[in-house]
C-alpha cells in the first residue's frame, strides 16, 4: 500500500527536472581536453580528478530535488549529475520527450512515469486520451538497455510494450503498474516468461483484460527471484496449482497479494508455503463452493500465526466474517491493514482492531460506522494514515459515518498525517477539532458526498472547517475540499496554505475570486484539479505568473471559453493547453468542457485523439 501513496511526502525546493533543460544559469566551467594546444586552457588533469570526485559524490545524492539543484551549479555538475542519476522521475509523461530524457540521462536504471490526470479515474475523460508507454519503452530499449525498473501510473501499456520490456532489457527486475490499462494476460505471459531476473511484478488497481492465457504458468521453471507478486486487481481466475508451485519455488517472496478468485482454502495452502511473507493480500477470504462441505477446515489460525513477519494485510475481497478470527495472531504486529473491500460491522471489527496497537495505515469501509471508528481511535495510537471508503457511493444514501467518528479519530490518533474520509454529513466543529488535534496532517481529503452540503448542525458553509485545517496544519501539502464552500474558504487556502502542492476542488466556490486567491496565494501549488465550479476566464488569467511552476491544471465543467483558453495558450508558449470534449461531440462549442494544461518542453503532442484540441 505504501506504493499507492502519492508523492505528497516529497519536499520541493527547487524547480523540477523537466525544466532544467532550458535554464542556462550555469557558469560555464573551463572545458577540458581541447586538442588545439593547451596554452589557452588549464591543464586537464585537476579537472578530470574533480569530475571523478564529483561523480563519486553525486552517486550518493538520491533525492531528485537535490539532484535538480545540483545540476544547475555549472555545466560540469550538470553533466556529472546526468551521468549519475539512476532513478528518473517524470511526473507528466508529456512534459518531456523520451528522446530528450534518454539523451540527457544515459545510465538510468529506474524509470518512474506518470500519465493521465487523476480525474480520468472517475470517467471525466474519454478513454484513449493518451499517455502511451510505447514511445518510452522503444526509446529506452535503444538508449538505456540496462534499465531494471519501471514504475508507471495511469498509463496505457500494450502487450507489445510488455514484450519489449522483457526482450530488450536483459536484467529487468521490477515492474509496477498502478492504474494502468491496455494490456492483458497474454502480454503478462510473454513478460513473465522472458524476464528471468524478475523480482517484482505489482499490478495495482490496473485493468487487465483476459486473453485466456495462463500467465501464472508462464513463469519459468526453477528457482525464482520473485520478491513481490501483486495481482489483486486481476478480475479473472488464475491457475492456482501453478501459483502454488511458483510460491513454493520463490524463497525470497515477501509480498503476495492475491485476487478474489483465490479462496481461503487456497490461501491457506500458499501461506503454509510462504511463512516469510511480510505483505499479504488474502484474496476472497471465503471458501469456494466446490470445497467439500464435510471436509475439515484447515487451521487458519496456525497458518497466520506462523507468519511472524507479516506486517501488512489486505484483500478480504468477499469476506465471510466468520473467518476473521484467523487473523488474531498477527494483529499485534500489523502496521498496515486494508479492510476497504470488507463489508464488516463495528462488532466484527472490534476484536481485530483492539489488538492492532502498532497500526499505522488503516483503510476501511464506512460499514463499521462511527462506532467502529471510535474503536480505532481507542487503540490505534500510532495511526498515520486513515482512509474511510463508502460502501454505498451515492449522494443521497444515509451515511453510516459522520462527524462523530471523525472527531473521535482526531482525538485518539494524534499522530495522524493523512486522511481520506467519505461521509454524508460533517460539521465545521469536527474539522476544526481535527485541525487542532492532528497538527501533523500532511494530506487532508474530506469528501462530503452530497454536493453543496453545509455543516449539518449549523447550516453554515464548510469554510471555517477547511480554513482551520490550512491554518493549523502547517505541514499540509495535499488538500481536497467538499461540501458547501464559498470564496471565503479559498481565501483561507490562499492565505495559509503555503505548502499546499495538490488541491482538489469540486462543486465549490462562488466566483472567480476563489480561484484567484488560490493561484495568487499558494506558491507551492503544483497540481490543481477543479470540476463543476464557477470559475471563468478571468480567474484563469490570474495564474499566468505561476503556471510554469505547476505540473498541471485541470478544470472541467467550469466557466471557461475557448477565447479565454486561447489567451493563455498565446501568453505561455511552453504550456500545452488541451481542450477536451466528450468523445461523441463533433463540433467545438464556445465554452470549454474540460481544460487540461501542463508545462512541456516539447510543445503539442502528436498523439492527441480527435476529441482533444490543443490550442
Amino acid at each position: 500500500m505504501s506504493e499507492q501513496m502519492s508523492d505528497d511526502d516529497e519536499r520541493q525546493q527547487s524547480p523540477p527536472s523537466d525544466l532544467d533543460f532550458t535554464s542556462n544559469k550555469a557558469r560555464t566551467c573551463i572545458v577540458t581536453g581541447s586538442v588545439s594546444g593547451h596554452t589557452e586552457f588549464q591543464s586537464p588533469y585537476p579537472d578530470q580528478v574533480l569530475e571523478n570526485v564529483l561523480e563519486n559524490v553525486l552517486h550518493f545524492l538520491t533525492s531528485r530535488r537535490d539532484r535538480n539543484t545540483a545540476s544547475l551549479v555549472c555545466k560540469s555538475w550538470y553533466r556529472v549529475e546526468a551521468l549519475t542519476r539512476s532513478e528518473l522521475f517524470i511526473g507528466n509523461c508529456y512534459a518531456v520527450s523520451p528522446a530528450r530524457a534518454t539523451a540527457r540521462f544515459t545510465r538510468v536504471r529506474a524509470l518512474h512515469l506518470k500519465g493521465r490526470p487523476r480525474f480520468a479515474d472517475f470517467n471525466l475523460m474519454p478513454p484513449d486520451w493518451g499517455a502511451h508507454f510505447n514511445p518510452w519503452v522503444l526509446a529506452f530499449a535503444k538508449a538505456c538497455p540496462w534499465l531494471e525498473k519501471v514504475y508507471l501510473k495511469r498509463m496505457s501499456v500494450t502487450d507489445d510494450d510488455l514484450a519489449t520490456l522483457a526482450e530488450s532489457f536483459l536484467g529487468f527486475k521490477e515492474l509496477v503498474l498502478v492504474c494502468c490499462d491496455g494490456f492483458g494476460t497474454s502480454g503478462l505471459s510473454i513478460f513473465v516468461s522472458k524476464c528471468r531476473q524478475l523480482k517484482v511484478l505489482d499490478l495495482i488497481e490496473s485493468e487487465v483484460s483476459d486473453d485466456e492465457t495462463d500467465w501464472i504458468l508462464c513463469f519459468p521453471e526453477g528457482e525464482s527471484h520473485l520478491e513481490s507478486l501483486i495481482f489483486d486487481c486481476v478480475e479473472y481466475p488464475i491457475n492456482f496449482e501453478a501459483l502454488e508451485r511458483l510460491v513454493a519455488r520463490s524463497p525470497s517472496l515477501k509480498k503476495l497479494k492475491l485476487n478474489r478468485y483465490v479462496s481461503i482454502g487456497q490461501l491457506y495452502r500458499l501461506m503454509v508455503q510462504a511463512p516469510q511473507l511480510t505483505h499479504l493480500g488474502t484474496g476472497s477470504f471465503s471458501p469456494s463452493e466446490i470445497a467439500g462441505q464435510g471436509d475439515q477446515e484447515p487451521d487458519y489460525v496456525t497458518a497466520f500465526a506462523a507468519c511472524k513477519s507479516l506486517v501488512c494485510l489486505s484483500g478480504f475481497r468477499e469476506i465471510i466474517p466468520d473467518y476473521l478470527p484467523a487473523i488474531y495472531p498477527i494483529c499485534a504486529n500489523l502496521t498496515s491493514l486494508n479492510f476497504s473491500y470488507a463489508n464488516i460491522t463495528a462488532e466484527q471489527l472490534k476484536p481485530i482492531i483492539s489488538n492492532c496497537h502498532k497500526l499505522q495505515v488503516f483503510w476501511v469501509l464506512d460499514s463499521i460506522c462511527d462506532e467502529g471508528l471510535q474503536a480505532v481511535a481507542a487503540t490505534c495510537k500510532e495511526l498515520r494514515e486513515l482512509r474511510v471508503f463508502p460502501v454505498d457511493a451515492r449522494e443521497d444514501s444515509d451515511g453510516p459515518v459522520s462527524e462523530i467518528g471523525f472527531q473521535a479519530i482526531s482525538e485518539g490518533c494524534r499522530k495522524l498525517q493523512s486522511i481520506l474520509y467519505f461521509c454524508q454529513r460533517m460539521t465545521n466543529a469536527a474539522v476544526i477539532a481535527m485541525s487542532r488535534n492532528c497538527p501533523d496532517l500532511v494530506v487532508f481529503r474530506l469528501c462530503i458526498m452530497g454536493r453543496h452540503r453545509p455543516d449539518h448542525v449549523t447550516g453554515e458553509p464548510m469554510d471555517d472547517g477547511f480554513g482551520a485545517i490550512v491554518m493549523n496544519c502547517k505541514k499540509l501539502t495535499r488538500l481536497a475540499v467538499s461540501g458547501l464552500l464559498t470564496d471565503k474558504a479559498f481565501d483561507y487556502i490562499g492565505r495559509y496554505g503555503k505548502l499546499v502542492r495538490t488541491l482538489s476542488v469540486a462543486f465549490a466556490g462562488d466566483s472567480d475570486m476563489a480561484l484567484k486567491y488560490v493561484l495568487e496565494g499558494c506558491p507551492q501549488l503544483q497540481k490543481l484539479e477543479i470540476r463543476d465550479s464557477p470559475f471563468g476566464d478571468a480567474a484563469l488569467c490570474s495564474g499566468l505568473h505561476h503556471y510554469y511552476n505547476m505540473r498541471f491544471l485541470w478544470m472541467s465543467s467550469c466557466r471557461l471559453t475557448y477565447q479565454g483558453c486561447q489567451q493563455i495558450a498565446r501568453a505561455m508558449p511552453r504550456l500545452v493547453v488541451e481542450v477536451i470534449r466528450s468523445a461523441d461531440e463533433e463540433e467545438m462549442d464556445v465554452c470549454v468542457q474540460t481544460l487540461y494544461m501542463y508545462r512541456s518542453l516539447e510543445g503539442p503532442r502528436n498523439d492527441a485523439p480527435k476529441f482533444v484540441t490543443i490550442l
Binding site: P127, C447, P454, D532, G536, R559
Partner: protein, 357 residues
C-alpha cells in the same frame, strides 16, 4: 413569501444587472473579513437552499435592498448532468422559485431562450445561440456548459443565474417543502470513487463464481466468459437438447421458469407439427400451455454433478448447485422410479421431487 419575491423579481433583476458591478466591490471587502467564529446570519430551515453564493449575495442584497434571503445558486449553473429535465420541460410560465433544483435551471433556460423573448432579461439570451444541445441536455451527461457562459464575465454569468431561476418550475418546490435534501441526479465521476471500489455490498455477498458488476463504469471491458456457465439440458422425449446459462439465474424458481420457456415451444411443436412454422407463434401458444405445464408436476428436473452422479435439482443451495451441475435432464415424473437416481435420494420420497416444472 416566495410568491412575493417572484412578483418583485423582474425589477430586482434589472437592479442586479445594473448595480451588480457597483455593489460587488463592496461585498468583496466584506467577504475578505476573516472570521472563524460562527457567522452572523442564521439560515432558514430549508438548509438545502444554502448554496455557495448565498453569503455573497446576502452582502450585496443587504447593501441594496435589505433583503436577506435571495438564495441564488450560481454553483448550480454548472454544467451539471441532470436527468429530470424532461419531466419539467413544459412548465415554464409559472412563477419561479428560488429553491428550484438544479434541473429546472436548464429546462427553464431552454424555454427562456425559445419562448420568452419579451422579458427584459432575455436580451442576454437572445444574442446567444440556442444550441439544440440544450434540449438534449438530459440525455447526455457529458454536455458542455450552456452557451450563455460564452460571455465570459463572472458578474454577468451570475446575473444570468438569476435569470434562469426566474422561469424555473415552482413545482420543484414541492420537493423542498420538507427539510429533506434536494434530490440531485447522479453526476459523472461523483463521488470520486474508482469503479472497482463500487458495488462492494453486492460483492461481499456474492460468491467468487458469480459475475462482477465492477466493469460497468470502466466502459469497454469485455464480459468475462468464465462467469457464464452453460450446461446442456435434455428433455425426455425431445431429441434435440438446449443449453442454459446457469449464472444468469439467481434461484431455482427462475431456472425452472426459463426451462419451461425453453421446452414449451418444442413440446407444443411435437404435439402439433404445423405450428412449428412460426417460432414465435409456437411460443405464444406454448405460453398458454405454460401455466398448466408449470404447475402440473408432470416433469422433474435432474442434474448430473461433477462426480457424474444424477441428483435431484433443488436439494442443495443454489450457489452450490450452480458450481457443481454439469448437465441437466428433464424427466417425466412417472418415469422417475425406474431411473438410477443418486443413492441418497432413494431415501427420500422419490415421487416428491424438490423442483417441478
Amino acid at each position: 413569501m416566495v410568491t412575493d419575491k417572484m412578483v418583485d423579481y423582474p425589477q430586482f433583476l434589472n437592479l442586479m444587472n445594473k448595480e451588480w458591478l457597483v455593489n460587488h466591490k463592496v461585498s468583496e471587502d466584506k467577504k475578505l473579513e476573516l472570521r472563524l467564529g460562527p457567522p452572523g446570519e442564521a439560515l432558514d430551515d430549508n438548509r438545502n437552499t444554502t448554496h455557495g453564493t448565498k453569503r455573497a449575495f446576502q452582502h450585496t442584497a443587504e447593501t441594496r435592498t435589505g433583503e436577506k434571503e435571495w438564495p441564488i445558486d450560481t454553483t448550480k449553473n454548472q454544467c451539471q448532468k441532470i436527468s429530470c429535465i424532461e419531466k419539467i420541460g413544459d412548465k415554464v410560465n409559472l412563477p419561479p422559485t428560488p429553491w428550484s433544483s438544479g434541473s429546472t435551471i436548464y429546462s427553464a433556460f431552454s424555454k427562456d431562450t425559445k419562448e420568452e423573448p419579451q422579458h427584459s432579461k432575455a436580451s442576454f439570451f437572445q444574442s446567444l445561440p440556442v444550441s439544440k444541445k440544450l434540449a438534449g441536455m438530459a440525455e447526455d451527461f457529458k454536455q458542455p456548459c450552456s452557451p450563455r457562459m460564452a460571455v465570459g464575465e463572472v458578474q454577468f454569468a451570475d446575473g444570468k443565474a438569476c435569470c434562469s431561476l426566474a422561469t424555473a418550475d415552482p413545482d420543484a418546490s414541492t420537493n423542498i417543502t420538507s427539510n429533506k435534501r434536494i434530490e440531485y441526479s447522479p453526476v459523472v465521476g461523483w463521488p470520486p470513487i474508482r469503479s472497482f471500489r463500487k458495488n462492494i455490498a453486492s460483492n461481499s455477498l456474492s460468491k467468487p463464481a458469480s459475475e462482477s458488476s465492477n466493469d460497468k463504469d470502466t466502459g469497454g471491458k469485455p464480459e468475462n466468459p468464465k462467469t457464464q456457465l452453460f450446461v446442456k439440458i435434455n428433455m425426455e422425449g425431445i431429441p434435440i437438447g438446449r443449453k442454459v446459462n446457469l449464472s444468469a439465474y439467481n434461484s431455482y424458481e427462475e431456472l425452472s421458469l426459463a426451462i419451461d420457456d425453453l421446452f414449451s415451444g418444442l413440446l407444443a411443436a411435437q404435439r402439433d407439427p404445423s405450428a412449428t412454422q412460426n417460432e414465435s407463434k409456437a411460443k405464444e401458444s406454448a405460453k398458454a400451455e405454460a401455466g398448466p405445464l408449470a404447475g402440473s408436476g408432470e416433469y422433474t428436473l435432474i442434474y448430473e454433478d461433477n462426480e457424474g452422479d444424477r441428483v435431484l435439482v433443488g436439494d442443495v443451495p443454489w450457489n452450490m448447485f450452480v458450481s457443481t451441475a454439469k448437465r441437466l435432464h428433464v424427466l417425466k415424473s412417472s418415469e422417475l422410479s425406474t431411473l438410477q437416481i443418486c443413492s441418497n435420494e432413494k431415501e427420500k420420497a422419490p415421487f416428491d421431487p424438490a423442483v417441478h416444472i
